[in-house]
Symmetry: C2
Subunit: 257 residues, 2 copies
């Protein structure tokens, strides 16, 4: 099996290294990942400037790990599929992200965007993230769980273009209670900016970090993660609100003047 691995924390991130080691148990892994951290890149792509690409080798200097791209996670997947890979991959994996990508954070996530991009191209794609607390991450253990979930997904023979979002809860909080297939929570996080003044007296703002979702909907990825379950959410990328659309089609639309 040929696996394309990418992420949004950058090609040298420990989460990617750990997941690469696990995925090598399943097949041949080629990495095409951002050269630098791209957290919260969302589904941005690079149009205004060119993409510089560097080959990255194992410490022996001989074995190609893949390519570092000075761009966004979605750029990496496009470039891998259209230019860099000699053969199409059987599976695209993105991660393992440092931090969960659940609830509306799915929309901000570069990790998930890379997987969505793979699904655009009709590849099975799985985003993997590890929730953390107090900046402690056991990526080898988290990636081991992620690989087991990936194996179970593949055992069910997903249709091409199937897209999944996998989150592993904080491992230091206690044992994993199992896997739950859950929808994305859609309630809003509590956010705030730090308002600061620079040395020249000018006000600036810095986004605070608060992953606390004050009132998640029950039975969602956010609640199941908090209950120490690994969550799996199948995703799609039709953002149409179909119920509301049918109502709007009945509106009495006026003439354009």
């Amino acid at each position: 099996m040929r696996i394309l691995l990418t992420n949004d924390d950058g090609i040298y991130a420990p989460g990617l290294r750990a997941l690469r080691m696990e995925l090598k148990k399943l097949g041949t892994v080629t990495v095409v990942a951002p050269a630098t951290e791209q957290s919260a890149a969302g589904h941005s792509v690079t149009l205004l400037v060119p993409l510089l690409v560097n080959e990255v080798y194992e410490d022996d200097g001989q074995s190609l790990i893949g390519w570092a791209v000075e761009g966004r996670p979605a750029d990496c997947v496009k470039l891998a599929l259209l230019e860099l890979l000699e053969e199409p991959p059987d599976l695209i994996v993105s991660g393992m992200n440092a931090g969960s990508n659940a609830g509306i954070n799915v929309i901000y996530s570069g990790t998930v965007a890379a997987a969505v991009e793979g699904a655009f191209y009709h590849h099975t794609a799985i985003a993997c993230s590890l929730e953390y607390d107090k900046k402690i991450y056991d990526f080898p253990k988290g990636a081991n769980y992620a690989r087991q979930v990936i194996e179970q997904i593949l055992a069910n023979k997903p249709a091409p273009g199937s897209l999944y979002n996998v989150n592993v809860p904080v491992l230091e909080r206690g044992p994993i209670r199992g896997i739950k297939v859950m929808p994305q929570n859609v309630s809003t996080y509590r956010e705030k900016f730090d308002r600061r003044v620079n040395p020249r007296g000018r006000t600036y703002f810095w986004m605070g970090l608060d992953f606390h979702c004050p009132s998640p909907n029950p039975d969602t990825d956010v609640t199941a993660l908090a209950e120490q379950f690994i969550t799996v959410t199948p995703l799609q990328f039709d953002m149409t609100d179909h119920a509301r659309m049918r109502a709007m089609q009945e509106w009495n639309w006026g003439e354009m003047k």
Copy 2:
């Protein structure tokens, strides 16, 4: 009515200026928009660096237009709602974008992401884009149509958090045939990279520009735009594939080792 106006082409973009003139017919408009072009920014937000903000005035130097933010479209909406606006807006408008945001381009679009961000905060939000051909844009005319569509949406008293994506077709191709409420097309565009060599002999890649969607699904935003209709698509931001989720909940998930 208090209207927050943003975009992804930057606060000095002609599309925003034209839309601002039209929206002033409906209420008080405050602009919070990126200082520079942020095309294809997707739903990225700025975490790693602070957000610098500058007040922007009319040519008289007295009347505040709003704020230019050195960040992404979604940053602008967050910052407007949490820090800059004295009172919450009654409506958030994003645009008018130079180029359509239909089909899967909705996912890449900073224009749409800004509106989605507004909907996260339970505001009615409308993204407006003008399709173009040969780099000709009649923004005053396009913004006039967009304002008429916005008025019709508001006349139907949308629930808070309602989110809409409005596209105006190429105006030079012929008269507008009307408004169609259509779902987002989800088939893939044909994309390619230019592979080039820099003056030092290093290969780099540059995303080509091809808005041709080879096989759009019938009765979608993409097909209706091509037939010279203004399209309106109600959007939502639950990316869960609910049908596939129900099937996956029946899977026989194995124990984690």
